[in-house]
Symmetry: C2
Subunit: 337 residues, 2 copies
Amino acid sequence: MGGDDAPEMVIQGAQIARTRLPHVDFLLFGDQAKLEPLLEQHPDLRPACRIRHTDQVVTGDDKPSQVLRTGRQSSMWMAVDAVSQGDAAAVVSAGNTGALMAVSKFVLRMLPGIDRPAIAGFFPTRHGESVMLDLGANVDCSARNLVQFAVMGEVFARIVLGIEQPSVGILNVGSEELKGNDAVRSASAVLRTGALPIKFHGFVEGNDIAAGTVDVVVSDGFSGNIALKSAEGLARLYATFLKEAFSSSWLAKIGYLLARSALVKVKLRTDPRRYNGAMFLGLNGIAVKSHGGTDAVGFANAIGVAVELVTHGFNERIKRELERVNSDEASAQVAAL
Amino acid sequence: MGGDDAPEMVIQGAQIARTRLPHVDFLLFGDQAKLEPLLEQHPDLRPACRIRHTDQVVTGDDKPSQVLRTGRQSSMWMAVDAVSQGDAAAVVSAGNTGALMAVSKFVLRMLPGIDRPAIAGFFPTRHGESVMLDLGANVDCSARNLVQFAVMGEVFARIVLGIEQPSVGILNVGSEELKGNDAVRSASAVLRTGALPIKFHGFVEGNDIAAGTVDVVVSDGFSGNIALKSAEGLARLYATFLKEAFSSSWLAKIGYLLARSALVKVKLRTDPRRYNGAMFLGLNGIAVKSHGGTDAVGFANAIGVAVELVTHGFNERIKRELERVNSDEASAQVAAL
């Protein structure tokens, strides 16, 4: 029931995902009276779906604390709970991010060895895609949090982007060791020792994100969220300027028509729907947050991310990785942070 | 002597600035043997310039602390000192940012009522330009710092962008009052009272920067630097994608030629040289930092910013504004931060 155009968009997204991933079944949580007629329009999808009815819905304005107190019968809570009960392998929602994070933390709990969850997302780069985390789950982060994000982000990039040995960088205001706050400097000092099984690049700056300098960009949730949204804002501005330029004269309009197929490729490369599906890393269960304003194609991509993480046993790999970290000489350093 | 292509670029920049601002004279600090032959190539500029010779140069790798200890004879220090002595009305440098800030703070001192300086810069938006600060002078900022940045940024936007009553926003991870860290929440609470003579919009998110939601974006130096550079990185990525698209086929190439004059306008609107010239606000003197990698046109723009701030008595207006703030009912709140 979450997202600007829910539940229509969600059902259509499931339909698209189903054609791509015919082995996936869906549990739909929400108002049966609304969901049933929508499903009837998709006879291919219908047999793959079961509806679990509830009237209660978490809105975009609901405070996470309030949802934790009174939201147990909401479609969001029931969907997360289905993962905790083993009824679902993953939950995908386009609803209230803060509420989804709070409920997921409460119901699924953290993975052993992880102190705080992180939101990870994708970013288009010169070379393809990179992973960035945290995108807003934690306003303040300690060095210890950042090191754990590095471990989780690295496994995430291996699984979802298929990069064998992803390089990891910490977002900072300069590349020199002395730059930045205590958290980034201490985290970098630990990763720099090479004791953790991570290809650590060092510090990266804001412009390195789109340049693709590293495969995984680690950051606190405050700066990470601001970095991502600043870049999104500039992409939108650039697109607006181009649109205005191409409609500013007859010559420009003809020029656009001739270059159209090439320009459509640029649009596809930077299409936010392609990068939809932010993963809540560090939880004892797979939870993927779709952008609330996405369409069915974007939602289907978010479902795709969830399926990939389940298929590749993401959380089991994180657990193994953390055991390696803990049995490692670096563990003392990480623990001391 | 500072900047990637100094001193040639600096002299050429002065030449361009001189044609735009024929009343401006220049004091050039650096190696006379290098500067003199360069000046001879510009007979129009020569009479407007005096050279103050020094061999010592601050490099991009020099640590600010080291420059403070041993850099008194450097061209950078001498240039800043000329402002403090009243020989120059402003200093413009494309050199080491950290060193320039450290020397400027040490030599010029802070304006009364300002605890920390901020670096302010421009950003292209949907509606024109906005001002953003701090862009990296302070990694950690208190609420009190942010409120002072708001006051300085507001006056800066009035003078340099000519906006009568600029709107001010604080950069955050969400627009709701409860979002973010203590510093942004407390600063917002003070500005929200309306007791300060500032048109306060509230919180803005990363995407609001390019959208031009507010005229002045206030942020700590860590997030501000990352936001600006992330957006720059994405702009560069977009430009690369477009370039590849327009050279991907004959049709696209012809399309580019037809749309060329419209596309050049987009390039100009987003040209980083247009937005060159970051101001060090809060110092008892005008200091403008040019991007180290800029060219002569960009450097001339940085000179233009400095001249505008001098002409409009920027620091006097800041002082008056701070007196208004201090005589105001909000002063108790600001002081209590």
